[in-house]
Amino acid sequence: MAPLESETKPKPETKPIAKSRPQLPKSPTGIQGLDEITGGGLPQGRPTLICGSAGCGKTLLAMEFIVRGAMQYDEPGVFMAFEENEKDLTQNVASLGFDLNDLIARQMMVLDFVYIERSEIEETGEFDLEGLFIRLGLAIDAIGAKRVVLDTIESLFSGLPNPLILRAELRRLFRWLKDKGVTAIITGERGDETLTRQGLEEYVSDCVIVLDHRVSDQVCSRRLRVVKYRGSTHGTNEYPFLIDEDGFAVLPVTSLGLQHIASTDRIPTGVAQLDAMLGGAGYYRGSSVVVSGTAGTGKSSLAAHFAEAACRRGERALYFAFEESPHQIMRNMRSIGIDLEPWARQGLLRFCANRPSFAGLEMHLTTMHKMIHDFEPQVVILDPLTSFAIGGNETEVKSMLMRLVDMLKTQQITGFFTSLTAAGPVLEHTQVAISSLIDTWLLLRDIEIGGERNRGLYVLKSRGMAHSNQIREFLLTDHGVELREVYVGPGGVLTGSSRLAQEAQEQAVKLTREQEIERRQLELERKRKALEAQIAAMHAEFEAQAAETMKIIEQEQAREALLEQERLDMGRSRKADR
């Protein structure tokens, strides 16, 4: 069991961590949880009163104190029973794996049944209970007992006359037990107004523990409370406890401190893009992760991814399913390409499927506690935790989760919880208000645009790491979960086919633009060619004109010459004297 030695109260307490301060010596009960609450056990060498109504486990608690004392702490014990005989008691606890006959044979235990039958007894004057003292003293001395149980000493009141004498004698008995130095448990039936029917709490005042069982919403839960513990701090709350096949188990509602180590180790989520969103490395080891979302948003798929990733790393994952059977989960996950079956077969993945209504919250918690203790997983998945919230038991669920988260953290187990939220505007509010307990919170939400429903994922919070503030589109493909960048553009956030349409449209626009450019380039080319052609034509025209002009000039010159010639000829013919 995990010792809670981290209390900070300035009072003498827990024996095992005896420091400079004087500590009240304690006798460990060996009962899971009880030693945590009492800071180490019952007051050593003093009597403790355990009271409660019928059937709430007084005898069993007392018996475990003796048996575990003998088996685990090497402290022999005397069990003096006033109500059940030796045979019945032996049979009753045999189912818990306690072999009383063996302990008795090994001189580690004395079981003494005190038979009182009122009708056989006639009172004729003053008496005392010296016979009981002698008998008990003999039993104690025979085995050197350190522990004594008187169950239920109140039977004396119905078996013997004269309560006045009995009271005086009981007072003497408890003093005597103290003098003997034995740690004693006295059980008492709960009275109407008092803790015990005969007011034993007046005599036994060192430590009083009340057991109780009550039924709410048809589910019975047992509770234990340390009413009083002289000279020691103790947990004061009502703690649920269980009686199962291993006996008594008390669950400290909250461990008294917040002292767990925070790992800097990171573990992948199983979805690469999600890792990227969480600072590129995934969750912290030993943190608690919640995925909340409306129905059908893919919470379980993320859980399966995480479990699969853990198994792939060779770690053990424990999957508590409260809505689906293991087979159903494996089948469904196979459809999105996550095959959990091999891991289950290899023993790395264990399922534990129960209906939430199968037991009270405490029973669930202890079952989980035990499973976790046995299997020692690195990853624990609860799918979904909201199924516990039946009726208005929100505070109980919260306290249960707190204990669970606490336990997981102390053991450096990463907890992954899914939480179903009712569709509505306030998504940032889990049905079970546990956000303060959670380190990483992923929110899956529907995005309804353009007549279709798509899934979006974003990181609502993630303590201690830089995380993305972006909404990613969450796709369930046949090879698992995929996260896509959503379309963020002038048209807003688009997902699904709207995103595809938008992308197509952009593609088309781009294509058009390219074509336009090409067209313009062609046109330019054409223009240039036209221009060049024009230039060439003009050039040719010019050439032609030039040639013609030259020709005219030549003709003119020729005519000039001809005229000259003619003039000369005429002159000659006139025989001018020049």
Binding site: D112, V114, Y115, I116, E120, I121, E122, E123, T124, G125, E126, F127, D128, L129, E130, G131, L132, I134, R135, G137, L138, L156, L160, P161
Partner: protein
């Protein structure tokens, strides 16, 4: 059961003649306390008065034989156990109330 034998001679009329012949009585005490002493002397007187000649008293001091307390389921001290005749009867206290002792020993009818 045995009735009416109030005279010291104690004429027996019931069928359980043989066993009611002798009363085997055990007185459990723890040391020589005033209560034990008183019980013993009261018992002696009652027996002499009502069972003269047909009783045996065995005094067991639990301080000397503590293991005997378990056998007869002794809690209170002093306790007088009527071993015979059957059924076993237990009478606790210092036996100062003679009437009740006689009732306890079935020498007087219970009201």
């Amino acid at each position: 059961m045995t009735t009416k034998p109030t005279t010291p001679s104690a004429p027996e009329t019931e069928p359980a003649q043989a066993e009611s012949d002798t009363f085997i009585l055990r007185l459990y005490v723890a040391g020589q306390t005033p209560k034990s002493m008183a019980a013993f002397s009261n018992l002696k007187t009652i027996c002499e008065d009502h069972l003269a000649g047909r009783y045996q008293i065995e005094v067991i001091d639990l301080l000397e034989n503590p293991q005997l307390a378990r056998g007869d389921q002794i809690l209170a001290i002093p306790t007088l156990v009527r071993k015979l005749p059957e059924p076993v009867r237990k009478i606790i206290g210092d036996l100062s109330n003679t009437e009740r002792v006689l009732v306890g020993l079935d020498l007087r009818p219970r009201e």
